[in-house]
Amino acid sequence: MSSTENVLSPEYKEAVTNLLFQLADDDFLISYRGSEWLGLAPHIEEDVASSSISQDTMGHAAMYYTLLEEVGAGKADDLAHLRPAQERKNSILAERVNGEGYYMETPQYDWAYAVVRNFFYSQAKKVKVDSLRQSSYQPLAETAVKVNMELYYHLLHWKTWFVQLLSSTDEAKQKMNDAIDLVMKDFGDVFSYGNDKAAIESNNLIASEEELKDRWKANMAPIFESLGLAVPAIPEAPAKNGRNGEHTEDLTTALSTLSEVYRLDPVAAW
């Protein structure tokens, strides 16, 4: 794997690097938001399950950052902790806060939002990872096989919550529908490759934005149908595109919290 650095053309390497940043930053931020739920989930088994999912997902981010290190983008830990918000390529959805308040004080987190965000995100990740298994970049294709095995359980978990809460009381349904609206508002850049669309797609690193959107809708259709609902539309043009470094204040505060310890002593061995 370490020899790949030398044989890639500069254009190809740039496309790989940009895609890897999108994948890495997505998983890194969403797992950070997941970790803020620790101790706050609706019951203890859910606390075990959702924190286990966050741990897996942080592992996936670490793998992508390691692949970035291998193409010479910098040290994996530094890439995760030290890059400022405007250099991040995660989708807006992954950086959003869990709800009102701060987890150390009086968090008023919204479980319906957590369920919908994680389910929709996991399904999006699933169609991406399925496509990445055929990526022209072999190290990424191999990583995708491994990620996919763990993702199976994540998707199953969030789908179960999603279907159960939408089959529950009127209050639950109302909260879930509000959460669906909120999540879909931020869904415009989830399948976007931003300004790198042409380079990423033409190098056969992953399927096109349009194909992935169609697969996501096709996977969601039977579930929504069973609940008597229509699959919500994915916004055509995102208000802000995280893939191009456009972000909300939520990302800035997340980065300052999550990198606080690392920045105290960046040369410490972990």
């Binding site: 794997m1 088994e45 075990v48 399950a49 286990s52 999912i53 741990q55 897996d56 997902t57 942080m58 592992g59 996936h60 670490a62 793998m63 191999e142 990583t143 096989v145 491994k146 990620v147 996919n148 095995m149 763990e150 199976y152 359980y153 199953l156 978990h157």
Partner: protein
């Protein structure tokens, strides 16, 4: 220094049977099917390992223990441990010896078969009963689930099956 490569490799594999899972001391990295390759060149040894789950925090400990165990061998000066992701670790790599070791620890080994819908079943590692319920597909570590035996009334854990078919 004139140890033949074959017998050198054999010694390394023997040493690796002493590298236990940091949390489950009845199974080694060999039993778990984590050892992909051993390369011996004179006094230099490289051990290639497959991580079970990508976010597993025990990997660094396993790496350190592997280095220490192999260094004990008289002909070894340098030990390198590399984690690779291809081929991916799958739960069917756990050996028969590994299955025994897991049961001895109170952990059900992964199932041999999957149903067509992807579901799976394991028996109680204590009493062998098939009358068990799943409490939580996620467990205390990334690789384990939590179950309960309705026969002997014991909670137990199971190695979470992972396969490339998923």
């Amino acid at each position: 220094m004139n140890t033949s490569i074959e017998s050198a490799n054999k010694q390394v594999y023997e040493a690796l049977t002493n590298v236990k899972d940091p949390e489950i001391d009845t199974v080694s990295v060999i039993d778990l099917g984590m050892v992909e390759e051993v390369i011996t060149e004179g006094s230099r040894v490289k051990v290639v390992l497959l991580p079970t789950f990508l976010g597993c925090p025990a990997l660094e400990i396993i790496k350190k223990n592997t280095v220490n165990a192999v260094k004990e061998l008289s002909f070894v000066d340098e030990v390198e441990v590399e984690f690779v992701f291809h081929p991916p670790w799958t739960s069917d790599r756990i050996t028969d010896e590994g299955h025994k070791g897991l049961r001895a620890f109170g952990i059900a080994p992964p199932p041999e078969h999957f149903e067509e819908d992807g579901s799976w079943h394991v028996d109680c590692p204590y009493c062998g009963s098939t009358y068990v319920t799943m409490e939580n597909i996620f467990g205390p570590t990334a690789c384990r689930s939590i179950l309960y035996c309705k026969s002997c009334k014991n909670p137990f854990e199971a190695m979470k099956p992972v396969s490339t078919m998923m």
